[in-house]
Amino acid sequence: MSAPARSGMSAHARRLVRDALRACALACYALTTAACTGSQSILNPAGPNAGNVSRLWWLMFYVCAAVFLLVIAFLAAALARTRRRTNKLTDAPDTEPDAGRERRMRGVVTGAVVVTVIILFVFLVASFTTSRSLYALSDPNNLRIKVNGQQWWWQVEYENDVASQTFKTANEIHIPVGQTVTLRLTSSDVIHSFWVPNLGGKRDLIPGHETTLWLKADKAGTYRGQCAEYCGLQHAHMAFVVVAEPVEQFNAWMEAQRRPAAPPANAEQQRGQQVFLASPCVMCHTIRGTDAGASVAPDLTHLASRQTIAAGMLPNTRGHLGGWVSNSQELKPGNRMPPIPLAPEDLQALLSYLESLK
């Protein structure tokens, strides 16, 4: 092979290596920054509970990293030492242990045990105080939200002592920034678990038993939550969003949610409403202000005000809604909404109506 060809090859190889290294660096960067910033990350706490948990996490991370490095250092030292000593090996059995070496060894082992116990004890105390701090938020007189987990979506009910002020929504929880909210958690089928890594959790939702979780957001933002207990086929697609917003904005949102659905504004929406009411939809869904009042599926009264459909799975757009209504089993196989074939004009009218449910 001629020289220029060979150098050409190696330049190509070098380029390949360089590109691979660059890609690795980029991937590492992306991974670490995603882990530390995202809207679903325990490393990016937005409230006191998640803050305490992440402090505990960092403590454990640093201590364990230090222990790991120390162990590796000792291992390396040991390897280096044996290599030096191999020269002195003889065939004679070593029956008389070297007293000095025995003493040193005992010292090292005792020291390691003591350090281990101290570290574990520090972890014990730290995790105990963290657990306690998670209950420090409890306050009986705050905003109460009842969350009912179902395969595979979340029913959210804002409670109020005045019955007419309570309302239901789904898969989207709004909370005021800087206030503690009490979440009462239950399930109507199997065990689910409520987890918003940036704010708090996890807490299990257990059928026939109520659990409580307190949440507080210090920073406004949208955080993603996820069911954290395997609950069947579509467990991975059982997500939700928590929107933390300033108090005035939150109150405005709550006022809007309390209102019944807006009546159809034009002929097409009118037709869409008729399609909805004449379809199986009414057997499962509620639209407050109409005859649809079943409560086994998400409340659609203010569907268009939500960011996602199908429990955080799809952005709430007309296209996704259309796909969902005509055959949700293609999008989320096994979910509990049947495919409902509609004539194209009926479907379009229905979508216009659904989009008007602001």
């Binding site: 057997m283 049947p338 074939p341």
Partner: protein
Amino acid sequence: MMIAAVCGVVSALCLVAACKREERGLRVDPPSSARVNSKTLSELRPGNVQPISAPNEFEQNAFAMNEGKRLYEWYNCVGCHAHGGGGIGPPLMDAKWIYGGAPEQIFATIVEGRPNGMPSFRGKIPDYQVWQLAAYVRSMSGQVSKDASPSRDDDMNVKKPEQSTEQQEPRGTGGVPKSAERPQ
């Protein structure tokens, strides 16, 4: 050789049977989710007429009947029929049928409604779900294969739970057991 062949056939049969029980279609094919108003059921008449029996495939399928059981609550059949014992509507766990107990007759009852207070669900329940409901309704009176029908209940047990043993009649003449007669 003969034995091997027999074993093969038997296990193949078992497999086929087992498959029906466990089959679970996630993607419902569109025609079967069509709404029930497309059906003409006019040849069916109230009363215990001899059924023109077409078997309901769901009656061999555990998943489908469990879906039927869930829908029975979701669509509030429970409100009128309770969990089979009846209330406003007649009991469904007994052997008596006003309008017939064949799969298509129950299908018809659900779709068309019946004059004395059974509402019509025409257009409100997709076809395949009505068949799931019909299969579950028949399972309440023990008319479907026991190995596929739902057998655990949170409510009053309509049928014997699957682990239950026959109730034992106390044996002997009663009184003091033999072991306790001996002087201590």
